[in-house]
């Protein structure tokens, strides 16, 4: 599994990650980011892409 952490002090809810990995990241009805804290290994590529495009570099991935 991959553990996903978003530093919500940094996150500005730009939603760039949503496009790269919509299974994990979503903007809710108030345009705020919501995400799942875990994802299967085969999503690593999408998750790295999401972390790469985060303007605030707020997304950290850890492989368990």
């Amino acid at each position: 599994m991959i553990k996903i952490d978003v530093d919500m002090n940094k996150c500005q809810h730009y939603g760039q990650c949503v496009f790269e990995a919509p299974e994990v990241f979503q903007l809710n009805a108030d345009d705020k980011l919501e995400y799942q804290a875990e994802a299967p290994d085969e999503m690593l590529g999408d998750l790295e892409a999401a972390a790469d495009v985060c303007p605030m570099q707020a997304i950290t991935l850890m492989r368990e």
């Binding site: 730009y14 939603g15 760039q16 345009d31 790469d52 495009v53 303007p55 605030m56 570099q57």
Partner: protein, 415 residues
Amino acid sequence: MTDPMTDADDRPVLIVGASMAGLRTAENLRRAGYAGPITFLGAEPHAPYNRPPLSKELLQTEGQGHEDVAFPIRSALEENVEWVLGRAAASLDTERQVVVDETGAEHPYRALVIATGLRPKPLPIDDHGLTGIHVLRTLDDAVALRQALRPGANVVILGSGFIGCEIAATAAKAGAATVSVVSQSRIPLERAIGPQLGAEVRRRHEAHGVRFFCENGLFGLVGDPSVERVILTSGVMLECDVLVVAIGSDANTEWLEGSGLDASDGVLVNGGLQAVRADGTVLENVYAVGDVARYPNPLFDEVARRVEHWNLPTETGKRAGQVLAAHLRGDDCAPIIEAPFAPLPSFWSDQYDMHLLAFGMTYLADRSEVVAGTLEDECVVEFFRGDELVGVCGIGMRGAVQGYRSRFTPPVAAR
């Protein structure tokens, strides 16, 4: 000389520019299976860092530095990577496959990635050696400007693009006595996001006390040894302790003069980010990525452009890494290159509590239309070139703006 197509070649992939685009290229080279040597040659003394906070968080937070904006270096780049920082490239010889740096040292390469980015255009008039004049591109620029933006300062910003407007907002929040934006344009941000949104941005700035001097320029500077006043072409004189020049950027391509590459406005590349020479031939082992690359985007048309938006260093780095890894394996790169390279530009700007988010090439539009909400509050604006949707920009309403991404799809076949 060793054959560049065999593994016997121990020369590195040389990435000139220790930048986001360079880093993303290296990561994607590794991801695509290249385990060989990589060398970064960077003009700045810093390892790659994230620039967007430079005009915002880092500019207003005392004590922030490189560690707050540095990109993490993934484990794949911990081995077999050399960092040569604080040395600018001076020339390129594509026949000998060598880059010479400013100290005269030679850096041979098996393949070259050009990621030298941009630098701000300088003050368009004589600065008479005065201090107190700033630009904002690098981390060191941002730290110097932060120290100058003291409460009570009189701040003048030349230029009303995104960087100029973001600095104006940061300066106003930092307690500047006066913030003045001087611009050739009729309306701030007009070229980028059109007259409707530009006028609304101006209204919001003025509500925070920022003054605009549009269709105007700098005529002269007064002060000794630091700037004290600026005289505008309209004759107005402004008190000025801090002058920020934010009138756009030029590509860092001087070092490519005489190399045979087409570097007239950034480095011309094909759909595989491979450099195109002035005679039209392609160099399969020379790539350009990020802000310095000029390429057509089939989402819009066939005109090669340099595009300075947030996600394109990542997109160009990804593509270049894939193509270059195939080239280094000796594979046929044509199938990758022939697939359309059509990244959707994405950008945003934060000024006060206003969040702008945009996709596409809004500046290609000849008209814009508010399709949801109101300009004074939150809204979505569509941008058209003729009947073709070329961009979308919102104030707030991010979910709605995100929904437009699927409307931009590259034309099939033909291109």
